[in-house]
Amino acid sequence: MTSVSDRLKTIQQNSGCALIPFITAGDPGLETTAKALQVLADNGADAIELGVPYSDPLADGPTIQAAATRALQRGVKLEDVLEIVKKFPHKTEIPIILFTYYNPIYYRGAANFLQQIKEAGVAGLVIPDLPLEESENLLQLATNIGIEVTLLVAPTSSEERIKAIAEKSQGFIYLVSVTGVTGMRTEMSNRVKDLLVELRTVTDKPIGVGFGISSPEQAKQVKAWGADAAIVGSAFVKRLAQGTTEEGLKAIGEFCKSLKEAIS
């Protein structure tokens, strides 16, 4: 199975920029999520971030909050999400990264949780409310089990923090492009450009930019600034939830393709 870091490094070495779409598992339904993974795979996704619905998504804006609430109302559980990953035939070449808040991990026990997602074929993990200071134990367990835990860098992070996070982050470094929660923004701040330069001086690891990218133009912009991956979430979640299932799937397929073309 390809690790997240191998996948992104290959793209990085060819001077490319990977596309990582995000969708909330179970919205608008588990079957749709399974189909959506296939559609994303068919339209150029290099890795896929799958959001596990959570009751208190502190780092998420209205679009993903609403999607998580709908999924929970349908009774979506972690086991259901992992079942979808198990059945996804392309996970060997398109690694799956789970995006989940920390409490469900802690509740199950970190070692159990990591073992369970590993067995389902998950390659990476992003935990938006687990900063560097609280992540030591989990990073160690994940290294032993073979899951890559990606840490986040924010526009507010100091030089020392950026360095420390870059050193510990696995798979890639997730650069949060806005001071804020997830959601669609019309412009990319020039601050992202500076942060990419700053990060590049301290690490060779791939850098993925996310939170706020919602158009092919923005994806192209972050590629031009030196990002190794563009992560796009709310814009996919919103498209997938609109209209009928078929319309939603068609919309994310077209959108995925347009993003991929913009950064190819």
């Binding site: 959570y54 009751s55 208190d56 502190l58 780092a59 804006g61 909050q65 609430t69 929970l72 559980k77 972690l78 808040y101 920390y102 409490n103 469900p104 991990i105 802690y106 509740y107 199950r108 938006p128 409310d129 687990l130 900063p131 560097l132 200071e133 609280e134 840490l151 986040l152 860098v153 924010a154 526009p155 507010t156 992070s157 100091s158 923090r161 996070i165 949060v176 001071t179 804020g180 929660v181």
Partner: protein
């Protein structure tokens, strides 16, 4: 009055430098907030013992808040619980309800506003459940000319209409939160999202001993004056320490404020009272410490009401201020170490206690506070001799009269 500067280090050894109370506490927040928490901690450490900061804070606590507030001997309540042989608990009330704005909340809101000004933050946000913390924050923002946005759940806005109006009168923007059940948990999440977005010019005045480090420590220290005054007043009144401290616990700020100065006095028994809502068995309650399991909510590890998937469950209480599925991490620590005891009281018991205190002492307590008074029914029969109990009368009940009237079936208020 003599003033006691805030100094926690001589009373307890928690939290450690990472904000841990044993396994509880910590900083479980998005990376964006980590620098702001470090900045806040640095500012707190710089100013908490600084003479000019203390002079301003103590001056305002005296002349603006009205401290020291009294320790009142509740004679008729004491008589009510007395045994035929004349023994029984001697009940004292620490009158936080007599503070400006009507609750203990202003101790912390005022001190944090002074910190925010020193950090150069002109925009203030806060969450509120019962509205008391929102009113306290709106009050200090008016006093210092700071922009003020209060996040409040829509259900709480309905049941605490009076406080919503007070906040608006004070010039604050009350931002309704519709997510979840529209209560304190949801308001807190939304306040944190605002802070993540506007962290560079905004200070978040968190209203309880909850949230990420340094809040549980800092809010406790800003409320520690409650216990410090109590110690001195007990000395004056009966030349000794109290035997039992009793306070309600939602997030747990008024209880920590009363307890903190006595944690290292082994003879002083400390009891926290949570909300059992309709009843613990019904599942509709907010008894986090008695029924929850350790987990992470709003930036801290602590006891938490959650389901078997690790999803946070909704709490229920007639009292908006206790209607919260989490609790401050230091309470979890005090529970596990056995230093404090925690029990729960139903809506019905709390309303009965509110009526009893109103009739016997002419004091209408807040519904939150009434939970502490209700526990006297269970506690007093167990006690021997004449133990001295200090109850934190943490807030007054004007804000709750509509809720109580509705509960008692009086609709034409």
């Amino acid at each position: 009055m003599t003033t006691t500067p805030i100094n926690s280090s001589d009373r307890t050894n928690v939290p450690d430098s990472l904000g841990r109370f044993g396994p509880y506490g910590g900083k479980y927040v998005p990376e964006t907030l980590m620098p702001a928490l470090a900045e806040l901690e640095a500012a707190y450490n710089k100013y908490r013992l600084a003479p000019e900061f203390q002079a301003e804070l103590q001056g305002l606590l005296k002349d603006y808040v009205g401290r020291a507030n009294p320790l009142y001997f509740a004679e008729r309540l004491t008589e009510h619980y007395a045994r035929p042989d004349g023994t029984g608990a001697q009940i004292y009330l620490k009158r936080e309800d007599l503070n400006h704005t009507g609750a203990h909340k202003i101790n912390n809101a005022l001190a944090q506003a002074l910190l925010a000004i020193r950090m150069g933050k002109q925009r203030i946000i806060a969450e509120t459940g019962a509205g008391q913390h929102g009113v306290a924050t709106a009050t200090v923002c008016a006093r210092f000319g700071l922009e003020c946005i209060i996040y409040m759940g829509v259900q709480d806005m309905e049941r605490q209409k009076l406080n919503v109006f007070r906040m608006r009168l004070l010039g604050a923007t009350v931002q309704p939160v519709t997510a979840g059940t529209g209560t304190l948990k949801d308001a807190t999440s939304e306040a944190i999202r605002d802070w993540v977005t506007n962290v560079e010019n905004t200070h978040y005045i968190l209203g309880s001993v909850a949230g990420p480090h340094p809040y549980p420590m800092m809010v406790r220290d800003f409320h520690a004056i409650i216990g410090q005054e109590t110690r001195r007043q007990c000395q004056e009144k009966f030349a000794g320490l109290p035997d039992i401290l009793l306070a309600c616990v939602g997030g747990g700020s008024n209880a920590m404020g009363l307890f903190h100065d006595f944690v290292k006095e082994p003879s002083v028994r400390m009891i926290g009272v949570e909300a059992a809502g309709e009843s613990v068995l019904s599942g509709k309650h907010a008894a986090t410490l008695t029924e929850g399991k350790p987990g992470v909510l709003h930036g801290a590890m602590s006891y938490l009401l959650q389901d078997t998937e690790g999803q946070v469950v909704e709490a229920h209480s007639i009292s908006a201020g206790l209607d919260y599925p989490g609790v401050g991490p230091e309470h979890s620590y005090l529970k596990d170490t056995g230093r404090a005891e925690y029990y729960s009281i139903t809506d019905k018991e709390a309303v009965a206690a509110l009526c009893k205190l109103s009739e016997l002492e002419g004091i209408i307590p807040a519904l939150e506070t009434a939970h502490a008074f209700a526990y006297l029914e269970k506690l007093c029969p167990q006690l021997e001799g004449r133990p001295r109990i200090v109850i934190n009368c943490s807030g007054r009940g004007d804000k709750d009269v509509q809720t109580i009237a509705k509960y008692l079936g009086i609709f034409d208020l």
